[in-house]
Assembly symmetry: C2
Homo-oligomer: 403 residues x 2
């Protein structure tokens, strides 16, 4: 369903938006009459059309569509601390600040040739972007998108630049990222964002391909593409350096194609244990966070991509790579048993819980829809139309550490 | 400083607000020109004047004052899921819904003769209030404040009604509360809020005087006024009933006056341990949350009232009862050492962290001001004028469980 099919479909969506606008229900055009807050809003990435939809999680309804965001493959979003603006990180180096209240692009810069995600500082003043080409991190003023600093990811003695991956924020107005080609983890002190400081951890392992930080912002963990295991840095004690954990993570298997590697930005922590997608296996790993050793393995319906905890930690929800990407499973964290298997449709790409966890939103790309489930009854409670939806990001992320 | 002093002072504040309004910086009056979101806003309770101030944590500035809220002794606030409205629970049974965008009262009911706090359901649709007189819980529609159900706190065989305390929300659209006179803990199922179900735990211990739930919504804990120890209910397994923990909580001391009892709505959880105010002693207790046994005691500067964890769990901040209520201390959670002692001024009543913890706001009642500290440098970064401020509540609470 690429090409004409999508175009027709997008045309139909546009007609629908026009109707909503005429009815005065779209934020973008209703002006003063739509004074509202944004705590229950979010953005759904529509990859094929380079657009995002503003959605309302109270009404379970679309509010506006914002177009012109470029290549949104693998796009992600962080939010301003007032939750009015979303910063959308596109694959083509585009950084777009969208205004959820006015339903339009506020500012946009194309800041690199090829990029992969970003983060916003603890105080909300600095947006950082992780670039492949040219490799490095750029810091921008969150208000104006003015460039504050560029940190080239140079490594070794010859001035080579590495792709940068796994960029997250950490407490103390810091960022952390990994150098895929440089085998390093960098801790960036952005308290003075025009003169950032960098602490480098070298030899962390071969080809860190993604990274995450625990929800408290303490432990940064990078997945390794070039070898078995993960790299761990305790940000409370950076002087202790990086160490290797879970050397049996991939059980010595052959390196897998990148498109099958699980996301590491979504580790689920519950009851002192982390639930982690195994690399290339039909398993979710359970890790004891006191010892950082494997505590259990749970057999699941495919190669897990996202393993996400419901905000109360009672459940984790899992989606899968092809050919099992039509399935979503729910694991009870106490018993480590699968308690529900759902088949929402073709290509479930992402899932996002409402802030207090009563519902979960799933993007079902190849069905051109977003589905909403009650997490207690597992009943589908709403469906929304969207153009090839991928990532779903709610504004409550503004208040979370390590995204 | 009651009476004329306060009146003069309030007059001065009003003049200041008038100037702000004239300058067009107050939300309440600026209408369409002040389209804004509320993710970085909060309410400061001004007890002596029955008012709340709307504050902006990005600008560290006041936005509006909302008056006419009645007796705000011991008042607390929860937020609508869109973060536009605050529900203020007054001591006189007043339930006031305030509109942060318009800076005014949206709706107000006086729903009991004497009340103590409340909560909002996981889905944001139901507001529950905990009443002393007549003893019970009332459920209201969060939008209209229409009464949905009344749950009289009757106990024993003679139809007596108990004061209700420690009311919190829990996952699954439930509420939990304690019956002070009935020695019971009640689990209220509000999925159908017009016909709530109640599960009762009796004989939990003498006179539960306050209660809290862990941030994941799993464990409800009530403090006992009439005996040593605490009552614990595992909400994942209500069939297991209530059990007694920390029998040495007060070390067998005489019962203390209620006004010195610590708040139990603020337990700080970090690294699998809880940091808890000891009842009537100059100590903070450290509890191992796997075993629910005491792991350590930390000597502090007074009888602790609030013990609150910075959102990343690295620090807990503590304030104290008279005669030490001019002091605030900071404990490092890893070492259990006090790393800073501050003296903000007379009567530090409450403290609230910004959502990601870069700053903390303190109400210094007898100095008529709110102070803001950088949590990394411990420097005071702002001061705001407020009329006898007590509780401070930021809108990010809308997205948290168990408040």
């Amino acid at each position: 369903m690429v090409g004409a099919g999508v175009d027709q479909w997008v045309g139909a969506v546009m007609v629908r938006y026009a109707a909503l606008i005429a009815a005065g229900t779209v934020v973008a055009t209703a002006g003063c009459t739509t004074l509202r807050a944004t705590g229950d809003l979010g953005l759904v990435v529509e990859r094929a059309t380079g657009s995002v939809q503003v959605v309302d999680t109270s009404q379970r309804a679309p509010l506006a569509q914002i177009t012109g965001l470029g290549d949104l493959s693998h796009a992600s979003v962080v939010y301003s601390r007032d939750q009015r603006y979303g910063y959308v990180f596109g694959r083509d180096g585009g950084l777009t600040k969208v205004d959820l209240l006015r339903g339009r692009v506020d500012k946009r810069v194309v800041q690199a040739g090829n990029a992969i995600g970003g983060a916003i500082s603890q105080d909300g003043r600095v947006v950082a972007v992780s670039n492949y080409q040219p490799g490095g991190v750029k810091l921008f003023d969150a208000d104006s998108l003015a460039l504050l600093a560029e940190i080239p990811a140079t490594f070794g003695g010859e001035g080579k630049r590495s792709k940068v991956v796994g960029l997250v924020d950490a407490p103390g107005r810091r960022f952390v990222c990994s150098l895929y080609d440089g085998d390093e983890i960098w801790l960036i002190d952005a308290r003075d964002p025009r003169k950032p400081g960098v602490t480098k951890f070298s030899g962390v392992g071969k080809q860190p391909y993604d990274g995450t930080v625990t929800p408290d912002g303490r432990f940064y963990i990078a997945g390794l593409f070039g070898e078995d295991g993960l790299a761990l840095v305790d940000l409370w004690h950076p002087d202790r350096g990086a160490r290797r954990i879970l050397r049996g993570y991939g059980r010595g298997e052959q390196a897998l194609p990148v498109y099958k590697m699980p996301h590491l930005d979504s580790w689920a922590m519950a009851g002192g244990r982390a639930f982690v997608p195994a690399a290339g296996r039909h398993e979710v790993l359970v890790i004891d966070m006191q010892t950082w050793k494997e505590a259990a393995r749970i057999s699941v319906a495919g190669q897990p991509i996202f393993v996400v905890a419901r905000p109360d930690g009672r459940q984790v929800w899992v989606n899968y790579a092809l050919p099992n990407n039509d399935v979503v499973q729910v694991i009870d964290t106490e018993t480590a048993q699968i308690v529900k298997t759902l088949k929402p449709g073709k290509a479930v790409l992402h899932l996002e819980f409402t802030p207090r966890g009563e519902a979960v939103w799933l993007s079902v790309r190849d069905e051109n829809r977003v589905e909403v489930y009650d997490t207690e009854t597992f009943e589908r409670v709403a469906q929304l139309t969207a153009a090839k939806p991928s990532g779903i990001f709610f504004t409550s992320r503004a208040h979370r550490i390590g995204l």
